[in-house]
Symmetry: C2
Subunit: 765 residues, 2 copies
Amino acid sequence: MKGIWYSSTAIATIVGAGALLAGAAMADDSLQDVMKSRNLTEKDVLAAAKTYVPSGGRDEFIMFSSSGQAGQVIVYGIPSMRILKYIGVFTPEPFQGYGYDNESKKLFTAKTPEGETVTWGDTHHPEISKTNGDFDGQYLFINDKNTPRIAVIGLKDFETRQIVVNPVLTNEHGGAVVTNNSEYVLEASQLPAPLGHAYAPLDKFNESYRGGITFWKFNRDKGMIEPENSFTLELPPYSQDLVAVGKGPSEGWAFLNSWCSDRYIGGIESGRAPFEAGCSAKDTDFLHVINWKKAAEVFKAGKFTKINGMAVISLQTSLDEGLIYLVPEAKSPHGNDVSPDGKYDIVGGKLDTHDSVFDTEKILGLISAKTFVGKDAYGLPILDMKASLHTQVELGLGPLHTQFDSKPCVAYTSVYVDSQVVKWDYCEGKVLDKISVHYNISHLTTMESDTVSPKGKYLVAMNKLSIDRFDPVGPLHPMNHQLIDISGDKMQLLYDSPIPLGEPHEGVAIAIGKLKPEVRYKYGTDSRTGDESAFAVRPGSEKIVRTPGKVEVFGTVIRSHFTPEIVQAQDGDQVIFHWTNAERAENEVHGFGVSQHTVNLSLEPGKTASATIEKASAGVYPFYCTEFCSALHLEMEGYLVVAPKGGADVASAAVSGESVRTKADFDKQYKQDIDTQAVIDQVVGYIVSTNYKDFPTVVALVEDATDQLNFAKDARAKADDYAKREDWQNAALWANQWWQYQVKAADIGLRAKTYLEQNGAKVTK
Amino acid sequence: MKGIWYSSTAIATIVGAGALLAGAAMADDSLQDVMKSRNLTEKDVLAAAKTYVPSGGRDEFIMFSSSGQAGQVIVYGIPSMRILKYIGVFTPEPFQGYGYDNESKKLFTAKTPEGETVTWGDTHHPEISKTNGDFDGQYLFINDKNTPRIAVIGLKDFETRQIVVNPVLTNEHGGAVVTNNSEYVLEASQLPAPLGHAYAPLDKFNESYRGGITFWKFNRDKGMIEPENSFTLELPPYSQDLVAVGKGPSEGWAFLNSWCSDRYIGGIESGRAPFEAGCSAKDTDFLHVINWKKAAEVFKAGKFTKINGMAVISLQTSLDEGLIYLVPEAKSPHGNDVSPDGKYDIVGGKLDTHDSVFDTEKILGLISAKTFVGKDAYGLPILDMKASLHTQVELGLGPLHTQFDSKPCVAYTSVYVDSQVVKWDYCEGKVLDKISVHYNISHLTTMESDTVSPKGKYLVAMNKLSIDRFDPVGPLHPMNHQLIDISGDKMQLLYDSPIPLGEPHEGVAIAIGKLKPEVRYKYGTDSRTGDESAFAVRPGSEKIVRTPGKVEVFGTVIRSHFTPEIVQAQDGDQVIFHWTNAERAENEVHGFGVSQHTVNLSLEPGKTASATIEKASAGVYPFYCTEFCSALHLEMEGYLVVAPKGGADVASAAVSGESVRTKADFDKQYKQDIDTQAVIDQVVGYIVSTNYKDFPTVVALVEDATDQLNFAKDARAKADDYAKREDWQNAALWANQWWQYQVKAADIGLRAKTYLEQNGAKVTK
């Protein structure tokens, strides 16, 4: 029988074999063969080449898309369309520990009227923070349509850091939209209801139901919304829809469209025509034109009342101060997008075959001249529609949203019923190109469209239906996000991308150079606040604090053990675990699960996270690392042992199961460790003989390996110490632990060596 | 100003414009240009061509992968690596309504020892149901490591239909593994604990802690596991790991490996070496060889005791009946895979550089001859290791799992520390090829490997680390699943695929022809049981049933309204909504959210699902469709109005907001409807002039359009009736509703027309 265990010879053999892989074989088939066997056209191959990102390559843009009723944010790369992350926002997501660790649970402050925590959200419109009208890549904002809330996501770690609950609005849709220097995050209501979540019967709809738009003040330094510096404008009980902010000549203004300004109430169960008929029976609805800069001054001047703690500027005050004006728009519009130069606001027809291009300068001129054609039922001044328009362009059946190109005057509009994207010139008012999408597109996204300088190049069509597009997976289909090349005169469909989870509503895309995510946290960070956690401990300072009825664990995790490993408690105790990941290495994440409990933590390097078992029951609960962190991952385990009340001594020491280690066991292990060290030294020798410092990835790996070898040194010292005392049991165990660290160092060293070989490192010494 | 609203002329123009798109323009750039600008090699283009699936094309295989601590199952296509679905299993997932609707909440029967519902799971090993040792594509099984459970997923609708909770084991890992005709689903424990979730102190480890393996009886006709016909074998307190079932000569046997057979207990907090050192200090661990067919007979003979209602066969009975034997295996092994012909069981070394190829016929021969070399501490007979082995092959540092090729004797093994896949011949015992993966691979999957007839062709490397592979997204990286072409002699890396959510542990892949999912449910189906729901109603039979303290809604949803739309209740009432989706059209899914509440339903065509608000609070709660279902999706809304106790009459009729419709309004709408009908007739005329019946997709669309036009007819009848009575308000509203259905019919008709044009339909009449 051949030798078992990693012998130093084995390691040397394997390490040497790496060179064999450098000239990896080309498959012998040609492109022609592949095209024939897979039935691909030249156009297909071209599309494949335009979207394929080779192993280790990078995408050009990152798109953040809402996930709709999944309550999260989806992050994907363009042009590969590979999904990189789902960020937990309004719905708990255990892979990230989100909504499962104590720290993130604190973000879930929304309660149902019955007092239960709201653990679901319907995300619609993400937006990136802006500086001078351009995306700056610092923060992402996203709204919840169902329970009006705005979440702030930090783009250093792609984690949700704040959720503010709207205490005035009951249902929303318009938002999150950000002003050009991220002064405010806008959130507009959709289905009218009494403000402040109050009650009023439906027959008091005109008098008591209202819309509203909230301006959430964003503090960029803190990365937090300040509810106390935020305010809401009361609006008529129309169904307000999407909001867009002005730029350039329209800076300081916001444009908010609406539908159902007829204020129809359905009731098909009583023989009435349903909402869908009554809400779209009137010829026009109203685009709300809002002077938000002036509104902010009115707020600062204290001209508001408070509802549930939120400052609300009444309709009467808006009338008195001239904050809101109405422009008729074709009934039941949907998209509402301001052009990059701020001169035009484009409203999608939905039930009209046209897009309406409103001229913001004309609108502001009419307002300035107080040229009104009437008032609505609430006294708001109405502007003349024709005098406000630049042009109307016929685009097709069901035009919805508009995105912009880097080329002036060029826009792309989604057309729902026709299932098309229409490229058109909104200055000249003419259609340039059309392309079919599959099927029923709602939003669409061009690169950095919602800024003063869109980047063009790619367009993502966010299609609602995907009949016949993919391998079938049952009645619930994925959505189909289609990537379209818009760099040429004609649009070209490149890629069908199924969305496996959630129905995304909108996305924003940013050039990757603008994002600067981190790979680790400062030691002991509470990632949900960004601050140092009060529960962080350093290796060596771990402790279990016992007070009557409570066991509190302050521990660390590192490849591949928990400290402490054994936690004893008594029936009925509250048991709190605080773990800090003491790793520094990129991607060395540990998890923490407790058998039979709803506990999972995701502990990225440097993070501190906590879990509480409110009332432990007598029993034995193994806990373990839920991330495959190293070769010894399975062995990263521990026990929570809960004794019955008045039962065994809770502090009783653990005993081993069976094995007795002898001096021979120690000697054998010790020799293996010494031999292994020699091999590791060889790998290290190779690495330092190269220009490895030119490769940041390798520099990080070397730091990590050095860490592991320092741990190894500590374990060796313990082994030596026990050996000196002839405690062979512990001497052998610690010699084995020394070897465990060596295996981790070897793992890292080999990764570094492979990287250097595959990335053209040179031997310089 | 140009005309607004969909005029019949506008529809005709747009419909006609479709032809313009048929000859979609090729981009003018060439493959060479794209390669140059995107810095692609010829090898990259070849890989792109091997993985790219053109719009509307199909993948060849479907892979089901666990999502680890996300608690779900991931479904993706091979070779495109596009993720098609995340199936909710042990963790609630609102997009699917899973864990949010009343029906699926019933599946969550697991409770923590403190009595709380367990809403998290750690999925590890999916397996597809088998017939004669081959995947049959009917059901998928998946285990929960943390709270031992097995879930059954139906592959007609890709939904979880059953979760059985293991009442004996506290923590598990091995499973779900299925016998060759799906007689049993196996689930083996991992970290030992007292059986039946009992308490015992750690110093009673040897006496009171145990492992176990459960054989869950599967009833294929019902598609359900039968706990009453299932049993568990008590095992020694080793850390049992992965289990594989025999085939051919080893049919009727199971092979279960283990680690920490030294039964070491850590305690680093007390100065003891941690688990990772002590659990891997012994030279060998034990492969358990289990005669499950005989065990099933022993169970049937009643030779068991019951623990928490589960039949448990004691170690003593196993000894008496000869059910379990042990074979030494190199310490801390991991992978454990039986070859397609059942002659070999291959155990991955993990801490040994070799894979051990055990000869199942030798093992069964030794057992048959009662040739044992000793007993373990629990009396189980031990076989000679050397006499049980076929060969051992040196593969590298950290060999883990093995998958099989369609070619005889060819296997692929993941090597964790080396970050490689090794192709080798397990009959001859020689290495054939190696390829680097990025980085630290655990499981790997070849097509239909775990069967008697693997399909080869592709291999997916499930890598744990993805440092430097993708655009960075913060400290928590996606995993990297790499697709490798194994059709030639040399393996070729094709594609890097990030996994955005969860850390998948294992996957199984099946040829798409074996899956037969459905696109709709039989009307009124409770999808979580597959049975007809007691709460389903047909359109026209909707009702609101009021009893003291309770309001129960039996409603329907269809493009684009709820029936009923207005639901009145009183403070404190329990409000229950049952909705049936009355659509038949593929992909016409509706959702249901209630403002300010944790309520979301996913209503696929034919499905009935329910949501309960336990104690409604006075207030106004708009509800709405959470799936973008049609152009009038936003208008698919309603109100739950909860009056204060003793307040307004809960049955008070709704009133409209403002608009009064006149005869002129009615006439205008009616004329538009008549004109629109003429255009729809044109589209229908075109469709029926073609060989559309050759296209099942179009046949389904035509059925759907016919439905919509029948609804339109009903609305028209109502409009006519009101007009006769000169009730112009309602006549105009219903005329508008007639038009709403026309828009939906036009939408479908255009989709059908585009499909026919793009798929080469011929005009035959």
